[in-house]
């Protein structure tokens, strides 16, 4: 099953040689027309890739009719402020991230706190491929085949105490590896959080790869979470610590401006971000290019069946 899929997958991706050939062609055309000095300005590709194959079994419950966003865009258009604020910065600068050795510490209100090596984490549960929609708070979206397993499998190992109500995720913050830390855009390290029931929801994916390969560094290697019914910034990247708490954790963006970024940040077309409407979204890589119409954003990003019950009785306009 898996090998079939991966073969099909690799056929869809533009082979590297063709890709680079095309790039050269663009460059030489640009040089001819406008002079060498301007050539870089006329071609804007940057790609770093040192990912390895990751064996994962497709989960039939998470296959989408929508076409997956191309690997090029999934790995070239990222918000990962630790490497710069421009969407192309992570692909250009994440090379300096050291993903091995890597450990994740799980602590706080748990019976069995532990520090796990990335290799141990990779083997903790069977790796699944799940195709999720990803909706950014900025109004764009992608469809991404992630590889990982439910976070609940890890949390069950550490055995949360009865008093634990929330889970906090803390990302790596190392100035030597992350040039973006020089700017004070965010109070580093990046911190995110979920309510314990949200973290235990089977949809919440502890993620190690995408497109059948280990996570590219710009996508939050070596381990991140993916919470598909919430805006993208809720899905913390390059996690080094998971802490279970009784109090609602202070999350980075909501600390920056609680009015704009709530703790819950569930995808909700009815609750606008102060700076833009959330009613519609732009799907990255739409073949119609600039003329592609925007699509309607779905409540809970289309995952209402699996998650809406967690919020029954809650005023989602108040708890945005």
């Amino acid at each position: 099953m898996y090998t079939n899929d991966s073969k099909q997958l690799s056929q869809e991706i533009t082979p590297k040689a063709v890709f680079e050939g095309r790039r050269d062609l663009i460059k030489s055309a640009a040089a001819g027309a406008f002079g060498l000095a301007l050539a870089p300005w006329f071609s804007r590709e940057a790609l770093a890739n040192n990912s390895q194959k990751l064996l994962a079994t497709p989960n039939p419950n998470f296959i989408l009719k929508e076409e997956s966003t191309s690997y090029k865009y999934v790995t070239g258009y990222n918000n990962f402020y630790e490497f710069g604020t421009d969407k192309s910065d992570p692909a250009a600068y994440a090379e300096s991230l050291q993903t091995r050795p890597w450990t994740v510490t799980i602590e706080g209100l748990v019976k069995k706190p532990m520090t796990l090596d990335i290799d141990a984490l990779l083997k903790l549960a069977p790796m699944e491929e799940r195709i999720y929609r990803m909706r950014c708070v900025e109004g764009w979206s992608m469809v991404i085949p992630w590889d990982g397993y439910s976070l609940s499998k890890l949390l069950n190992q550490v055995q949360p105490l009865g008093s634990a109500k929330y889970v906090e995720f803390i990302s790596l913050a190392d100035r030597k590896q992350m040039p973006g830390l020089k700017s004070q855009v965010i109070d580093w390290p990046y911190r995110e959080g979920l309510r314990l029931d949200e973290a235990m929801n089977p949809l919440t994916l502890l993620t190690f790869g995408l497109y059948g390969e280990t996570l590219p560094k710009q996508n939050g290697a070596p381990v991140r979470i993916v919470v598909p019914w919430k805006y993208g910034f809720k899905s913390a990247k390059s996690i080094v610590k998971i802490r279970l708490t009784e109090e609602m954790p202070k999350t980075s963006w909501s600390q920056f401006d609680a009015r704009e970024y709530g703790f819950y940040s569930n995808v909700n077309p009815l609750v606008d971000h102060p700076r833009w409407s959330q009613a519609t979204e732009r799907r990255i890589g739409d073949p119609k290019g600039v003329f592609a119409p925007k699509m309607k954003t779905q409540m809970f990003n289309g995952y209402g069946d699996q998650v809406a019950s967690m919020y029954s009785g809650m005023d989602l306009k108040k708890f945005y």
Binding site: I26, A29, A30, A33, F34, L38, W41, F42, S43, R44, E45, K72, Y73, G76, Y77, T85, K87, S88, E138, W140, S183, V185, I186, F256, D257, E260, D272, H273, P274, R275, W276, S277, R282, I284, G285, G289, V290, F291, P293, K294
Partner: protein
């Protein structure tokens, strides 16, 4: 002789000023606009409108510094290019983002301060572009200069537009640079500083 030189320079500036548009067209035809092409062309045209606004406002300080009036001959074209890129910026937003839905557009203008500022800037630029001809200049006489002082206000609304847009993600490095440049250019209009700049050149 001087006239020839200025005509040649004007032609050169005209061609150079079209390069940002050439680039967008080229990238559009070579699949080079990246993952979010609309965001890319919106931001690019907006940035270039701002760059040309800065260049337009730089002509008077340059005239004072060099005591050469030829700078002023380029000012109108630079200003019109600022309007040109601002129009593209506005059209892309109205067409590709709002889908020509005027009611939605007005709602956005009223609801979101950064769009309010962008909209005001664009609307204020229109009378300046329309009255940029020699004919209008003659007709309006002294009022022409008064009218065109609007550009100082536009410089402020434009920066607010950009600043409030970027404040959402606390990504203020680039907009700070533009704000400082515009602030310096506006300071050159303060009579005392204006006099200093003028004096320097005669020494």
């Amino acid at each position: 002789m001087l006239g020839d030189k200025i005509s040649l320079m004007k032609l050169l500036i005209f061609l150079l000023a079209l390069l940002p548009l050439d680039r967008l067209i080229f990238l559009g035809f070579t699949d080079g606009l990246g993952a979010n092409p609309i965001e890319f062309i919106t931001r690019s045209t907006g940035t270039w409108a701002l760059v040309f606004l800065c260049l337009t406002l730089a002509m008077t300080p340059l005239r004072l510094l060099t005591s050469s009036t030829s700078w002023i001959r380029y000012r109108r074209m630079l200003g019109l290019f600022s309007f040109f890129y601002a129009s593209l910026h506005f059209a892309i937003w109205l067409w590709l983002d709002q889908d020509f839905d005027l009611a939605e557009m007005l709602k956005d203008v009223l609801k979101r301060p950064f769009i309010t500022m962008g909209f005001i800037s664009f609307v204020l630029l229109i009378p300046l572009a329309l009255s940029s001809t020699h004919w209008a200049q003659r007709k309006l006489g002294r009022r022409w200069a008064q009218l065109h002082r609007l550009i100082y206000l536009i410089a402020c609304t434009v920066i607010l537009h950009y600043w409030w847009h970027k404040a959402g993600k606390n990504d203020l490095d680039t907009v700070t640079i533009y704000a400082v440049v515009l602030l310096l250019l506006l300071c050159c209009r303060i009579p005392y500083i204006r006099k200093l700049l003028g004096k320097r050149s005669t020494i």
